[in-house]
Symmetry: C2
Subunit: 205 residues, 2 copies
């Protein structure tokens, strides 16, 4: 006589999967419909999760959107770190770093975050929650770029050039929402790579 | 016997003033409450204009918001040109140009435009109207910066550095909506000025 193995998924695992579905549905809604067009009803339908279960985990739209953007940031941060590990060494490295950043800031993660930022500008409670998340994300991105470029922040001006690089790709990402001009972006990043190679003293790893 | 001069304001003038009040009230609403929080009812109350008159001039919220951002862009474009005319000459000029741009992109005109851009991202009809306005504004800003910096666009890479400068200040403006860190912005612009002075071949006028 054979025993059928228990295939019941543990409660903890099911909860985790449900949360992930809710967060991914929220991101999809933000990207497609914006902050205003995102409702908890729409998200629960999309995720196939009951309203009760959703409210248990995320009691408000703001809580849901914040958790979704944080989740996405973690996922994409890991993707970015993986992409950074595959970067070429040598003369083409700086340009490849910029390509990676440019792609990141023209992707759904940026659009979802943008919706959150702009909503937070006129919503005090949301801003109080977004600001620390944004600062943490900013520090992590800065660290990643310093490492990827092999930049020596002890040199004067290097820290500011790394920050400027992140502000530049953020600005390019914002322009993308209106006119996605990849050629223009490419030419700007070509030129910026030349500038960085001239001014950064570090040797790319 | 003295004749009292006719003080009646001509109809055309009254219409012009009413339109201006509506557009300014719309900008104020956008900055304070965002695109979502802006309604035609709120704007007409704020401007002290009847709903009928408002609808006569601007038949929809989108029409009103677009006209408001265009109006603001013209007004602020003129202010920017006037500021450019007062810029110092000599060694401090580049940094002064960047200060002027940084202020512009951290001001209500940018926040109002940002609300419009982000709303347009998920609203096809609005995007169709915003995109040409944005392209025109972009060209004018580019022209202004080229002139202010005395940049020679015939030199390779110069055009791209001017574009990068505008994308940078746009990115800095977006960061301002979450944390207004003027010191950080100042240090980045200091460094950017050094980069521009090294790479732009033109002689500032």
């Amino acid at each position: 006589m054979t025993t059928v193995p228990t295939t019941r998924v543990p409660q903890e695992e099911r909860t985790r999967a449900m949360r992930a579905r809710l967060l991914e549905a929220t991101v999809d809604c933000l990207v497609e419909r914006g902050f205003t067009g995102t409702s908890t009803t729409l998200v629960s339908e999309r995720a196939g999760v009951s309203r009760g279960a959703q409210l248990h985990h995320f009691p408000s739209k703001n809580a849901l959107v914040l958790a979704a953007v944080e989740h996405l940031t973690v996922v994409r941060g890991a993707e970015l770190a993986a992409a950074a590990a595959r970067l070429p060494t040598g003369a083409t490295r700086t340009r490849a770093v910029l390509e990676m950043l440019g792609d990141h800031f023209a992707s759904p993660v940026f659009f979802a975050a943008l919706e959150l930022w702009v909503a937070a500008r006129t919503d005090e409670a949301l801003l109080a929650a977004v600001a620390p998340l944004e600062q943490r994300v900013g520090r992590e991105a800065h660290r990643l770029v310093v490492d990827a470029l092999g930049a020596d922040e002890a040199q004067p001006g290097v820290r500011e050039l790394v920050q400027a690089t992140l502000d530049l790709v953020r600005g390019l990402g914002l322009a993308t929402t209106i006119t996605d001009d990849a050629k223009r972006r490419g030419r700007i990043l070509d030129q910026w790579a030349l500038v960085l190679d001239t001014h950064l003293q570090g040797s790319p790893s």
